[in-house]
Symmetry: C2
Subunit: 888 residues, 2 copies
Amino acid sequence: MTKKWVYLFEEGNAKMRDLLGGKGAGLAEMTNLGLPVPPGFTCTTEACLEYLNNNNTLPEGLWEQVLEGMDKLGKKMGRKFGDPSNPLLVSVRSGAKFSMPGMMDTILNLGLNDESVHALAAKADERFAWDAYRRLVQMFSKVVLDVEGHLFEEIISRIKQEQGVKTDPEISAAGWQKAVAEFKAVTKRETGIDFPQDPWKQLQLAIEAVFKSWNGKRAVDYRNATGISHKLGTAVNVQAMVFGNVGNDSGSGVAFTRNPSTGEKDFFGEYLFNAQGEDVVSGARTPTEVHKLKDEAPAAWEALMNVARILEQHYREMQDMEFTIENGKLYMLQTRNGKRTAAAAVKIAVDMVNEGLITKEEAVSRIEHFQIDQLLHPRFDPEALKKAVKLTKGLNASPGAAVGEVYFDADTAEKKAKEEGKAVVLVRPETTPDDVHGMLAAKGILTQHGGATSHAAVVARQLGKPCVAGAEEIKIDLKARQFTVKGVTIKEGDVISVDGATGEVYQGAIPTVAPNFDEQTDLKTILEWADQIRKLQVWANADDPQQAARARSYGAQGIGLCRTEHMFLGERTEKFQEAILAETPEEFDRVLNEVLLPLQREDFYGIFKVMDGLPVIIRLLDPPLHEFLPSQIELTEEVARMEGAGQTNTPEYAKKKKLLAAVNNMHEFNPMLGLRGCRLGIVMPGLNKMQVRAIFEAACDAAKEGVVVKPEVMIPLTSHVNELKHIQPLLEEVAEQVMAEKGIRVEYKFGTMIEVPRAALTAGEIATVAQFFSFGTNDLTQMTFGISRDDAERKFLLRYADEGDLNILPKNPFQTLDEEGVGKLIFMAVQDGRKTRPDLEVGICGEHGGDPASIDLCHRAGLNYVSCSPFRVPIARLSAAHAAIKNR
Amino acid sequence: MTKKWVYLFEEGNAKMRDLLGGKGAGLAEMTNLGLPVPPGFTCTTEACLEYLNNNNTLPEGLWEQVLEGMDKLGKKMGRKFGDPSNPLLVSVRSGAKFSMPGMMDTILNLGLNDESVHALAAKADERFAWDAYRRLVQMFSKVVLDVEGHLFEEIISRIKQEQGVKTDPEISAAGWQKAVAEFKAVTKRETGIDFPQDPWKQLQLAIEAVFKSWNGKRAVDYRNATGISHKLGTAVNVQAMVFGNVGNDSGSGVAFTRNPSTGEKDFFGEYLFNAQGEDVVSGARTPTEVHKLKDEAPAAWEALMNVARILEQHYREMQDMEFTIENGKLYMLQTRNGKRTAAAAVKIAVDMVNEGLITKEEAVSRIEHFQIDQLLHPRFDPEALKKAVKLTKGLNASPGAAVGEVYFDADTAEKKAKEEGKAVVLVRPETTPDDVHGMLAAKGILTQHGGATSHAAVVARQLGKPCVAGAEEIKIDLKARQFTVKGVTIKEGDVISVDGATGEVYQGAIPTVAPNFDEQTDLKTILEWADQIRKLQVWANADDPQQAARARSYGAQGIGLCRTEHMFLGERTEKFQEAILAETPEEFDRVLNEVLLPLQREDFYGIFKVMDGLPVIIRLLDPPLHEFLPSQIELTEEVARMEGAGQTNTPEYAKKKKLLAAVNNMHEFNPMLGLRGCRLGIVMPGLNKMQVRAIFEAACDAAKEGVVVKPEVMIPLTSHVNELKHIQPLLEEVAEQVMAEKGIRVEYKFGTMIEVPRAALTAGEIATVAQFFSFGTNDLTQMTFGISRDDAERKFLLRYADEGDLNILPKNPFQTLDEEGVGKLIFMAVQDGRKTRPDLEVGICGEHGGDPASIDLCHRAGLNYVSCSPFRVPIARLSAAHAAIKNR
């Protein structure tokens, strides 16, 4: 028994995407739903992999199964493949598990040859037959024989000129017949091969070409960019042809059951009369709005509406369909879950819950974290827009605000972005799969031609890149590397701003502002549903009242990290330097208490007020003191230069020399592992005491006004429980003293960062003193890996991780928690800590707190909360719900 | 029932040291062995603790039990305590679990008062009675009432002057009677208290004073210095007095069953005729050699020899005894295991095995690691000694070579050593317990007076400090802060050299050399026995053939770490810099291969020859490259100075400027966590390839000459298994290639350091590639604690650990492995690594490899070997045996 390599559409179903690819599974499902699908069969992805793994040899038995399938197909259609008098024509289309728009290959009208074209002409009409044949020769030569497409386009252009017409449909039968002859000559000239007249040869080569296209450069690049596995393979769908180009009662269309850009429940799509499907997708002819069908072909429209209803109810998802109308009759050629913008995704999910189609949990599951990111991406500042120079307005193909230098080809755009780190906007007449690497590298995309379902629009939406398509006003001159619009010339390298949400394009760079979260009601609904599902609380890192307010408006349930070092910067640096350079610890403390205490108290007071009722974790000063002094290198240079110039008698020199001595004395070889965190607090307790006093004075003052304050004091960089045993009682004493002075008590906790590996390893001990843990995963990752992030990213880490050439680390561990190493420590620490103190509050405040994969780990480790930057709070809320669902 | 606070000697035994203290347990054991011990009883350590914990209140029932004991004691002696006509006199002596020589208090002759002194005079003689009484008043006043001792000494000096005599024994009865009167007056004047006439009052106060002495400053300091727990308490021994000072057929002595300095089996001790025991120990009178008794008091001598035999057989240990002869009859007042020098400890252990007294394992157990250290301490260079200025020769009281500045009081000595980091020799007329802090701080001790069992000698031996005692030729002038000898004056701060092994003292600093291990046959015997017991192998860290040879002579079984970076220093730095500054990787590799490869090959060849038959682990280059370039700060300074001086047109400037640019480019903020170890190897593979080539060329060359080579290539700083997967195959390929070129194969391994926490956490994964692990515990400790050692020791670590004031870390984790944190990682890594690869070879090559406590941990973790510096190999051999015994 040979393996089953071929499935008739009626043998498959929607669940068989792995084996039949997305298109094949969709066709099978529609067939079994009784929808009008031209008959056909699918060669499996397994067949593809087998073919590729065996040096491009068709697997044993495949061809026999194809022959059998063609036989059944012919019987259904009442024609026969290769019959010169009544030829069965088929399409051959790729279809992988995950959609890769335009990445792989399609050939239509297989079965025609010099003989059967006449039979077709006799049955239908002359012009249609020769058009069909020339399409076959053109596509076959491009796809199977690698002939460059522009050679054919040039011939068509010439024929149009000769015939004095402007569009393809106007070309006469004779024109297409001439084209066929010239196409065949070009193919012969370019490849030395005659276009095969044997239909079975055509079919075999076409199937093989689709298999091979899986490993084509375009497809590999696309998969690399989008994270699709290279091991899936593609299926091949062989299907009886139906023709949208047999007259004006025919045509082809692409449609979505809802609007993929806004999510409105409004049938949405485009249609080209008298055209085959490829004409719509390519963007070469601008199609009409699909609703036109309602009037022009009401029966077909009715049928289409019916199919759309059935499919959406059946799949419980917005569908993206391809269809052809042949002489007024509807045929479905594809259905799949439709790609959509982030805004549409959110609206559709909410609507479908309201319609009773899906559950809230399904709705939450369907939103991906990066979509939230897109929704909360900055938009152009409305004030700045008022004064901006608007160049044009095109289709709002993919929302978002992009600013960048204009480049007119994908290679240059990629180079400028990757090698020179430039923000780039890719501007093209239209895009093709060959442009995807440039689109990936660009901040935004602008095309002159193409509609809302053109390649540029579809891919941009999928990639989440702002895109304005079909901005027909702009005139691109690729040779001169510029475009002109309304008398303005934009040259390569000039900066423009592209608003994919409105379709507007502006000259120059327009500043952006944070989006208005409150207006995004659907998003807020989704996040409220997520809140009902998730187990993890979401807190935020905020260093001042403004940040805290934003965090709270985004749904933060507490402040997980308030970094006090930022409060010593700016205008306060000079004062703090005075303290650091004090000659005695007493002088140090005096400056702190007289100058910095009131300022700190004010900082904390503001945060407590904003966070009324919610916990606020304040970390005591963490960095080494020398970070607040001038750089050792720069001072050394200045002093030496003055010495070289003999300027050693100036007071300036004396001052710098003295400062340098202090800086040298404080210098550390590895400051990250030096005198900082609680070590500093232990060696100079006055510093931390001042901070604790400021915290509790502020807390008591706010509490007196009726604010519910929940201060939690966090001691950084603990490596041994004895450090806490030493410092914590001193600080608790200050807290108690302040509350006694103020005559009011507030609820409070003392706890510690777990950011040193040893703290994680001895968490059980540390929890005897600490009332809460907060994983400082930035430092914990640095120390667990032995990698200094600042040094490493430049020197080797970017080569180690992600897209680096060395392939050592699956992900950059500073972005996504390293589960095997750092994660192991986190799991241990949570377990051991809770063994000692069952009600231990455990969270994470490193940057990983906003990373979805890391949030999943935190959920599994049983943390109480994740804390992230205010802007990441919505993503964290969603991701925490995803983690709860996934790990249920 | 009240608790039993008091044990008669016959109620105790040697095992009750916790409760009865060392002295009490010894007296009990001797009593039960039927040896001549004056009757008495012991108040327990529990009574002491109870007393101290209850605000210095005698525990309930204690006094009643004392009364009962005194009653029984009196009946045995046929006298009664407090009986004015036939008084029972007793001594009250402290006795803790661990000997604290002279640290606590003793009072003799309790029971005498103004009345009973006459009865005693009538029964014995007048002079003896008044001498005894003045001793009581003197000791009681000092110990119980805190009167300063010199006040009494001054009175005695004056009386001697008045009587025209030179020594105490010459003072007449009237003289002592006068002394008693004056002593009592001094006590009254100084304290306002009359010397108590009630013997029971005397007894009670004396017992309490001993209890209190446990918390006296001297005792606390001593315990801090020697690591004795503060929670033990001291027992109090109350014993009937016998008198060594009733005439010339009486006396007191201290003796060892073997020579405590050399270990020779030769009864050894000192004796003072007509004296009480305190006179011997104090060092104030120079005693005679104990053998004199043989002629002077043959019966007592015979009895003493008999007791010594019985005790040594009974305890199976060299004994240190105190005894008194009263009118020719021997009384034993104490026995305990004798303290001894390292050399004596080793000799006695070996001898006792040969005598069949103890087993080899017991012998090994009895040697402490620091004794090996002492035996292998440097000694003065014999060549240098020939030219040295010898000042004098005293008693060789405690062996070892010390060089330091002379200071004449303990406080100054301690200050100079601790605060200024000076090497100090403490020079004193004689030492007392008050001098111990100075002895601890000193490198060596020199005393003018006192014998081989004087305080200075005993304590110095215990502390392992070189000591010359009784150098009577030197004349110390404490006021002038100098001593003179043979016309030479040595002032405070001048440097002398003290040879405790010969008793010789030299002017100036004499260089030292390593000791001759081969001559230390007893030590070698002990270590061979240790080798039979231990499970851990002992390897050594050696970077060149000389070090390897020394390591092998000390018994190393392999090289656990050959650091190749040292091979790029010295003359080769310039060449290596040329490579580092190469403009291209190819140029870098070229310099390496043409210039450095032959040199490295030669290094390795020498080591392989020395280590014939044993494994040699060679670590590939570990430090960051910028360590081989000039300092960034210095270069910045030089360049800026030239710029300030306008010297920018010189070629010198251009060169420095270029070098500075390169140095700046390579600068790292935290170089310890930067581009080093295998990261460097991965980014610049040519470097490691060159090293592997050099290793295998050398190995093959040596193998061709018949040397059995076992190279093991160690890849440093692995944090992810993928690093090994990347680099190891490249290097193995080089190895195979070289062996093919040379036409000979050698046995080899590739493995990795485990020095990054993540490597330990993912050891199971790493062992899929690495064939061996070596814990680099220096870096592992740094990263696990998040402490940069170079920075930290100066800034806070010394305050955190050991004798620091902050008391955060029990031990400096860079000296002794931190069991809870770093140790946890080690245990995990061994377990996980062996789960993957059961025959995984695991060792340790950090500095901890030579630390006994860390070796114990390594034994328990199941390591195959420890690797340490060559000089530590003997200690490691012993410690590994101790670990095997302890954890059996």
